[in-house]
């Protein structure tokens, strides 16, 4: 079954028609990477799925549930989706362990001991075992972003949204974060991510979505999009980003 279905999503900011009818389905365990020029609506798309922005038309189904229904409890929906942003939005007044276990304790009602054990297990697995008791400002950018990812996967979300999670990082630190994403793919996480890292997109994606002025203009496996793009807009975009 599809984890996510988008049907004819529209979004406007005033007169700015940012999403102009987006249709997309993501299957369980699938990794879908959204590429496209700055301002093409990648982040906006992610934010509508997470209900941070309200859609102006269309329907979004999460594992079959219509989450655009006005009667839906937005907090419950958000608890089912893990999100990582471009800028590390760790809570600076909480230690790493408290950041990671917050949602489990306060939203899902997990026993604090159980949450703690699971969090420490995950942090150790991703090379953050020594940082458990640190505050976020003592961590490097790459470490912070890895903690943010651990926080997002802590409660086993049905879907992970990753919005340009490496674009605020030094090139040196990008690799460690992308390695973590590869691990998640290997474990079977379902992910929708936006990125400007084309080589990474190519290696990790099951499918690429090329967004162009508010529409998914071309969708297909990475070999096709990068090797044999059908649309002139896609060719032009790829030529621009790969010959910088």
């Amino acid at each position: 079954m599809s984890v996510l279905e988008l049907h004819g999503i529209h979004k406007l900011f005033g007169d700015n028609h940012v999403l102009k009818g987006v249709d997309l389905e993501i299957d369980s365990h699938e990794v879908v990477v959204v590429i496209g020029a700055s301002g093409s609506g990648k982040s906006t798309l992610m934010r509508t799925i997470n209900l941070i922005e309200r859609v102006d038309d269309g329907r979004i189904l999460l594992s079959g549930d219509d989450i655009t229904d006005p009667a839906v409890d937005v907090d419950k929906v958000r608890a089912r989706i893990g999100v990582v942003f471009q800028h590390f939005n760790l809570f600076p007044h909480m230690r790493v362990i408290d950041n990671v276990t917050l949602a489990a304790r306060k939203v899902h009602g997990t026993d604090p001991e159980v949450a703690r054990d699971r969090a420490i297990g995950l942090l150790e697995k991703f090379g953050l075992g020594e940082k458990v008791r640190d505050f976020p400002d003592r961590l490097s950018g790459g470490q912070q972003q890895r903690v943010a990812i651990v926080r997002a996967i802590m409660t086993d979300p049905e879907l992970l949204l990753l919005d340009e999670i490496t674009s605020a990082l030094d090139p040196m630190l990008v690799g460690e974060v992308l390695d973590l994403v590869r691990d998640l793919k290997a474990q079977g996480s379902t992910m929708l991510m936006a990125t400007h890292e084309m080589s990474f997109a190519r290696s990790v994606a099951d499918r690429i979505v090329f967004m162009h002025s508010g529409r998914p203009l071309e969708v297909g496996p990475p070999e096709q999009i990068f090797g044999d793009p059908q649309r002139p807009e896609t060719r032009e975009f790829l030529a621009r980003v790969t010959h910088r």
Partner: protein, 291 residues
């Protein structure tokens, strides 16, 4: 992925000649500044002291303001009065903490449905920030009893209410500023985890806001510490009122000086603590230790 910190051979390191020389120079320089500061302070104090002590009216002033006998006699009564001030301060602080937080949260609510609450909170803070504390005390202290002449509400309680009304407005503004200084991405991050609006405020926004405004809040507390002395205008026998009673009997102003010193002593620990906390926070927030 490894995150080991480099440099396990720290024990082997000894400061070089260069560093030892630099430390010596710094010590010399700081000894020199301390000396300069000491001398200039002593000179200043000497000049002020000499001017006052040699002025023609000094004898007279000494008798009416610094009479040791009257000071000793009035001390226990004023201290007893101060105990009332401390109790008023205690309850007013609790009331202010609760009311100010509510006001700040009300003012931070977004969306048209909340307009009435938001407007109410805004009106309240605008009104009570503008009103002099003394006028509020008169209105509450004489207005509330007039509503219901049968029951006698203790004046200290009325004073506590008046002080709390004013300070809730000041503190609410400080808290609101703190909440607005928390970056919006923090709220989004919290909501994305599925935290409700209320939990986001309680667990993410307010703790960070408080941290940002601790020095400002402590300042407000210090100024409230002395403003509790204003309840004497309602006739509550606090430190100021006790001093006034002795003054009326003896025609000597020494009791006021005693009461004043007591208020200073009361606020002194808090003032020092405020300085220490501000310094610590400044140190935590800026990395460059020398600027």
């Amino acid at each position: 992925m490894t995150d080991r910190t480099a440099g396990t051979d720290v024990e082997a390191w000894q400061p070089s000649e260069l560093e030892l020389d630099r430390r010596l120079q710094r010590r010399r320089a700081s000894r020199r500044s301390v000396l300069v500061a000491l001398v200039s302070t002593a000179v200043f104090a000497g000049v002020v002291g000499w001017t006052v002590l040699t002025s023609p009216g000094w004898e007279n002033v000494q008798q009416t303001f610094f009479d040791p006998g009257i000071a000793a006699k009035s001390f226990p009564k004023i201290l007893e009065g101060l105990w009332l001030n401390i109790r008023v301060l205690f309850f007013a602080t609790i009331a202010v903490a609760v009311v100010a937080t509510l006001l700040a949260v009300m003012r931070s609510l977004r969306g048209p449905v909340w307009f009435p609450l938001r407007a109410l909170a805004t009106g309240y803070t605008d009104l009570f920030r503008g009103l002099p504390v003394l006028i509020v005390l008169y209105l509450v202290g004489f207005g509330i009893p007039a509503l219901n002449p049968e029951d006698r509400v203790p004046v200290a309680l009325l004073g506590t209410i008046g002080i709390s009304l004013c300070y809730s407005a000041y503190v609410a503004e400080v808290l609101r500023a703190g909440m607005e200084a928390v970056h919006p991405s923090q709220r989004i991050a919290a909501r994305s985890l599925g935290l409700s609006h209320a939990k986001t405020l309680r667990l993410v926004v307010i703790p960070q806001a408080l941290r940002k405004v601790v020095p400002a809040l402590m300042n407000d507390f210090v100024s409230m510490q002395k403003d509790v002395g204003l309840i004497s205008v309602l006739g509550a026998v606090d430190a100021v009122r006790a001093a006034q009673i002795v003054q009326a009997q003896t025609y000597n102003f020494t009791p006021y000086v005693v009461a004043g010193l007591m208020f200073v002593a009361l606020s002194f620990p808090m003032i020092r603590l405020t300085d220490a906390v501000s310094a610590r926070m400044a140190k935590r927030e800026q990395m460059g230790g020398t600027v």
